[in-house]
């Protein structure tokens, strides 16, 4: 919290974070744990009263739960507004990374313009955990087939009983191609969290995606 005071922000005008920082973070983490356990299944986090645009509730919840002074955070052009940066510094204390390469977490609010996945840290062969988790805000997210809109991703891998279909609107056109490259360097690679409103879904590096 001191970071915000040092940089002289008027904290009285900052959006609030979790109403109960301890128990709300616990509840939000359990949704994330479920998302990384039951891969491809959409989880819903609780609403947060005030969130600086353009962050959605799921992205805000992710940051409040996991980001802190040990996790450099990269914001894309759309997310990198002063109000967002101030809010993240105040509530998480996370340093902002200048480039995707140096980030432990990245927030992408405009996926159409996002860097390809190989710009984010994939970890090392001996420490594949030193990788980036990229949170991507998408237009729509639903389970199963036949929504008409969106791209159907057929998922397979750990955390999935057989195969699972996820319908996503708003991923960049090159997504499937770069995901295959990301999956190919397993156990290195980035993990993704797709968010939309209060919904989130995890796509860890070990997931095979057809679609």
């Amino acid at each position: 919290m001191t970071a915000a005071f040092e940089t002289g922000f008027d904290t009285s005008r900052l959006a609030t974070g979790f109403a109960d920082p301890v128990l709300d973070a616990q509840a939000a983490f359990r949704r994330l744990l479920a998302a990384f356990s039951y891969v491809g299944r959409i989880q819903e986090v609780a609403e947060i009263a005030e969130i600086p645009a353009p962050l959605n509730a799921a992205t805000a919840s992710f940051c409040l739960t996991l980001a802190d002074l040990e996790t450099p955070l990269w914001l894309d052009g759309a997310a990198g507004r002063p109000a967002v940066a101030a809010w993240l510094r105040f509530h998480c204390g996370a340093p902002l990374a200048d480039a995707p390469e140096g980030a432990a977490f990245a927030v992408v609010a405009d996926p159409a313009a996002m860097p390809r996945l190989d710009r984010f840290a994939p970890g090392t062969d001996q420490y594949p955990d030193r990788s980036c988790t990229v949170v991507i805000q998408v237009e729509a997210l639903s389970q199963g087939q036949g929504q008409g809109q969106g791209q159907t991703l057929r998922l397979q891998g750990p955390g999935i009983d057989g195969t699972l279909d996820l319908v996503v609107t708003g991923l960049p056109p090159w997504f499937a191609e770069t995901w295959a490259l990301n999956h190919a360097i397993y156990p290195m690679g980035v993990d993704l969290v797709l968010t939309c409103g209060r919904k989130l879904v995890a796509l860890p590096r070990g997931t095979r995606i057809e679609g």
Partner: protein
């Protein structure tokens, strides 16, 4: 047993239970004991561990109010995930009523205000030492293992730098050679506990000192399996529906322990049995190591060889510190 969270009760100072008023707040414990920054660090590690099943994620283990060997790694994992809506079960070698299990259960009832249970089916979080419950787990349940030694290759290679490379490049030949030497010497693989597994076709992992009887339960399980090693500062995980195979050879396939007898109390023929000495004249019986499983079966009317007498005797034996 005179130190730690058992008899010595250092938790007297715990005014952390939520809702407690504590005007100065100076010596309060946080909810679930750990401070929020530690929880965040462990939570980040847990997600990485799930993303790379079987890979050991290093973490900054914290001092806990109990000695290593009491499951500090498992306790830190449980403390980082648990919330007031959870129902916690703690087992030690299958039993809910050992001093260790009772102490850990009380600890979390106190610092995290959770409900506790001995019934596997009712629990949302199960912390375990050396067993997987007999009752099949379901989606949404989380099994937290206490891990004394997370490195399956440690006996073959004492240097951490070397084992890390072996995992990085999937150089698991040594492990196979070791198992094959077992066969050459004993005609079979003699390892019965901590029998190594291959997870997701990529990482060799220690299942912790569970009997190899439990190994087949790890693969394709609908529940989440998390592993915490406090002294060695490692966290690893097996997500639901993940391929877990016990290492073996075509001509010597993996096989679990079998008993000629059934449980003397409940008659179960498919559970893991412990041998119990009855008297000094060589009398003995085999009973389920999973006390909840055995009790549930008996409550449903199942009876073993020694029937009601043995059940009464077992019930009369001294229980743990509580209950």
């Amino acid at each position: 047993m005179t130190s730690g969270i058992g008899a010595a009760e250092p938790m007297q100072t715990t005014r952390a239970a939520i809702g407690d008023s504590d005007p100065d707040g100076a010596d309060r414990y946080n909810y679930a004991y750990l401070d929020e920054q530690t929880k965040r660090m462990i939570r980040r590690c847990l997600l990485k561990a799930l993303a790379v099943p079987g890979y050991q994620v290093p973490f900054g283990s914290r001092e806990m109010p109990l000695p290593y060997g009491w499951g500090t790694g498992g306790i830190q994992v449980t403390a980082s995930i648990i919330g007031p809506d959870d129902v916690l079960k703690v087992i030690d070698q299958g039993a809910d009523d050992t001093t260790n299990a009772v102490s850990i259960r009380r600890f979390f009832a106190r610092v995290a205000a959770v409900e506790t249970t001995e019934a596997t089916a009712e629990a949302t979080v199960i912390q375990t030492r050396h067993r997987i419950p007999e009752q099949p787990l379901r989606e949404g349940q989380i099994l937290v293992y206490q891990v004394p030694q997370p490195e399956p290759l440690r006996k073959l290679e004492p240097r951490e730098g070397e084992t890390r490379k072996m995992h990085a490049y999937a150089e698991y030949g040594l492990m196979h050679v070791r198992l094959y030497e077992d066969i050459a010497r004993f005609g079979r693989i003699a390892t019965t506990y901590s029998y190594p597994v291959m997870v997701n076709g990529r990482h060799v992992m220690s299942p912790t000192p569970i009997p190899k009887f439990d190994n087949p339960k790890m693969g394709g399980n609908p529940a989440v399996q998390l592993f915490g090693a406090g002294r060695e500062k490692r966290i690893y995980a097996v997500p639901p529906y993940t391929d877990v195979r016990s290492l073996d050879f075509e001509d010597h396939p993996f096989a679990i322990q079998r008993w000629d007898e059934c449980c003397a109390l409940c008659g179960a023929g498919d559970s893991y049995l412990d041998e119990v000495i009855l008297d000094d004249r060589g009398g003995r019986m085999f009973v389920c190591s999973d006390t909840d499983h055995c009790g549930t079966r008996r409550a449903r009317g199942h009876t073993g060889r020694l029937g009601a007498d043995a059940a009464t005797a077992a019930a009369a034996k001294p229980r743990g510190a509580a209950r």
